[in-house]
């Protein structure tokens, strides 16, 4: 095999890893933190360009079938790199404000990105596990960045213990699947014809590990505490990039390794989990006063919507999930970003939604941005969140899962309450006292504006005649054979 060609297919992750090492060494030799930030951003931009190139490139597998490239995997890489880039862009000013601005943070983010890309493109259970672990280890550390405070320590410890436990499930699942099939490669496992109880047990445990990582409901306990204790911009990273990577890996596993086989009822299992995730996530979010916890429960609810598309199990469903992941990445980083901006005003306590009163008229640009992102998260029409929900629910209806779509629409309607509540406080309540907000830095502001533009642009994109994102995604599942997942 041609190693250079193989490396070429894996270049975004390679760039991220190399940049991580450079940044690590820079932080040892006391290079200025702004230089480190610059190196990180530069490497991520380069990686993003390569990821964009791969989006339209050939489809296949490399490194002895360990990693997939092109198609779904390429889009997963793009999602991860995009999410990381924007999280890094908004992190600098925020971390400086909370006095935790170290070079190592960027190194950990870059290593985590490497792991996420490895996870998102994995075509083998071993690769999946190593990618997941690389990502998780870095995230555990980032969760405990504010270790002087109780919430930070709690968040790191909780995430680590539960994460390690769930990794155990995942690994046990992999072991059982290997025992049943004698292979860890997706294609080899699919080739298996008789489904033994051993294989079923293995897949179930594998899914449990996945459900934990995407915080679907029976396995969601860690999410609010971890999201609350983590620095806000890194919370955005947890909620978007890591979730996107895990979901793309889950799509690959579901579509390539566990396609619908007679008598294998994963669809039902995922449907049930999707329903309770949507209901519980939205219900608990309704009563949250802490904005970060509200967004944490909202992210649980969004995992539910994503599972709806996965439960559909059709090409449409997978396309919808990918589109949703893109929308979710863009709008959620935006929402967390604006909240991070408010939290930069250390003297004022902006964890409680009651303190958002009257914010709409201070720094009006930021308030408008937050409104756009929250509208989009709520799934209100002119924004990308609406389209994403539409694709996912439509796929579910087409696949005959009417209940799922109905529950999804109803819970979406309920979710509007808690998203709009923030805006009501911002625009229609009098502030408790006089205060002034710090000035958002230029990079911070423009990163959020770009996200906002993406949110709006992709919300109205279908009216433009040129080839749209959803068409590109659909092509992954139609051009290359049945459901596009077989792949070479």
């Amino acid at each position: 095999m041609d190693y250079l060609y193989d490396l070429n297919t894996f270049i975004p992750a390679t760039i991220a890893a190399a940049a991580g090492l450079v940044v690590l060494m820079q932080s040892v030799y006391k290079v200025k933190i702004n230089t480190i930030f610059g190196v990180t951003v530069f490497s991520l931009v380069v990686a993003l360009l390569f990821a964009l190139r791969d989006l339209f490139g050939p489809v296949g597998t490399s490194f002895y079938d360990m990693v997939a490239y092109g198609g779904t995997a390429a889009f997963g890489t793009l999602l991860v790199i995009t999410g990381t880039l924007f999280c890094v862009l908004i992190s600098r000013d925020y971390l400086e404000a909370i006095d935790h601005h170290y070079g190592e943070v960027y190194a950990m983010i870059l290593f985590a990105t490497t792991g996420m890309v490895g996870l998102a493109v994995s075509n083998d259970l071993i690769m999946l596990f190593v990618g997941l672990e690389t990502m998780s280890i870095c995230l555990y550390v980032l969760a405990g960045l504010i270790k002087e405070e109780k919430t930070g320590a709690e968040s790191a410890l909780k995430y680590f213990l539960l994460g390690a436990f769930s990794t155990g499930f995942l690994l046990y699942g992999i072991a059982l699947i290997y025992g049943a099939t004698g292979s860890t490669n997706y294609a080899d496992i699919t080739a298996l014809t008789d489904i033994s109880p051993l294989f079923m047990a293995g897949s179930a445990l594998l899914l449990v590990g996945f459900f934990f990582k995407i915080s679907a409901v029976p396995f969601h306990m860690w999410t609010p505490d971890v999201y609350q204790g983590t620095p806000t911009t890194l919370t955005a990273y947890f909620a978007t990039a890591s979730k996107a990577a895990t979901f793309v890996a889950l799509i690959l596993v579901m579509s390539r390794m566990m396609p619908e086989i007679e008598g294998v009822g994963w669809t039902q299992a995922i449907s049930v989990i999707a329903i309770i995730t949507m209901i519980l996530g939205n219900l608990i979010a309704l009563v949250q006063d802490n904005v970060k916890r509200m967004l944490a429960y909202s992210s649980i609810a969004h995992a539910g919507y994503l599972l709806v598309g996965l439960a559909a199990g059709t090409a449409d469903g997978y396309t919808g999930v990918l589109y949703y992941l893109f929308a979710y990445t863009v709008m959620n980083i935006g929402a967390f970003g604006v909240i991070a901006f408010y939290e930069r005003n250390q003297a004022l306590d902006f964890t409680d939604v009651n303190n958002y009163a009257g914010l709409g008229y201070k720094q009006p640009v930021m308030a408008v941005l937050l409104s756009v992102f929250l509208f989009s998260l709520a799934g209100i029409p002119p924004f990308v969140g609406f389209l994403a929900k539409y694709y996912v629910f439509a796929a579910a209806v087409n696949a005959g899962h009417i209940t799922l779509a109905v529950v999804g629409v109803l819970t979406t309607a309920a979710s509007v309450y808690y998203y709009l509540r923030v805006m009501v406080f911002m625009y229609f309540r009098e502030p408790h006292k006089e205060f002034d907000l710090v000035n958002p830095g230029a990079i911070f502001k423009y990163a959020l504006i770009v996200l906002c533009v993406l949110t709006v642009y992709y919300g109205v994109e279908p009216v433009f005649p040129m080839g749209s994102l959803i068409e590109l995604l659909t092509s992954y599942y139609t051009e290359t054979g049945p459901a596009g997942m077989a792949g070479p």
Binding site: L24, F63, Y64, A107, A112, G115, G131, S196, L198, A201
Partner: protein
Amino acid sequence: MATYAFVLLAVLAVASALAMVLNKNTVNSALFLVLNLMSVAGLYLLLHAQFLAIIQILVYAGAIMVLFLFVIMLLNVDEEESLFDKFRAIYLVAFLLGVVVFGQIVYSLGGVTDLLPEISADMAYVGTVEAVGEVLYTTYLMPFEMTAILLTAAVVGALMIAQYKVKTSDQEE
């Protein structure tokens, strides 16, 4: 012969695991864990997984146990903290759920009745160090290199979590 060895090791593994969980003294628990890991290594050997057995002893019974003992000494937990000082309904639920999961695993392993499978020469070769090396640096190259990133991240992460203000060379007197 192999069957006797298996029964001996299996009994030892289960007994030491129970002793580890039920022991009140954390240091003793840790030492029972060493015994448990050793007997599991023996079971690996019976399956002709030589490399795995050696790794099990070197890494788990060696390095990881050192770390466990350090943590126990670091935390300075005093003994006499019983796990089950009073009965709660949740224990019963947990126990029943555990039984269910155990039953499922036994069911899914249902077809396997032999204590030890017949191991052919081919299968025996798979567990050797050479066989591991042959695939580790070619087929599994990508996960292997990713492991290096993982370990580096683990080093940095552990130091970030564990460090307080560490003096660096230029701050020295």
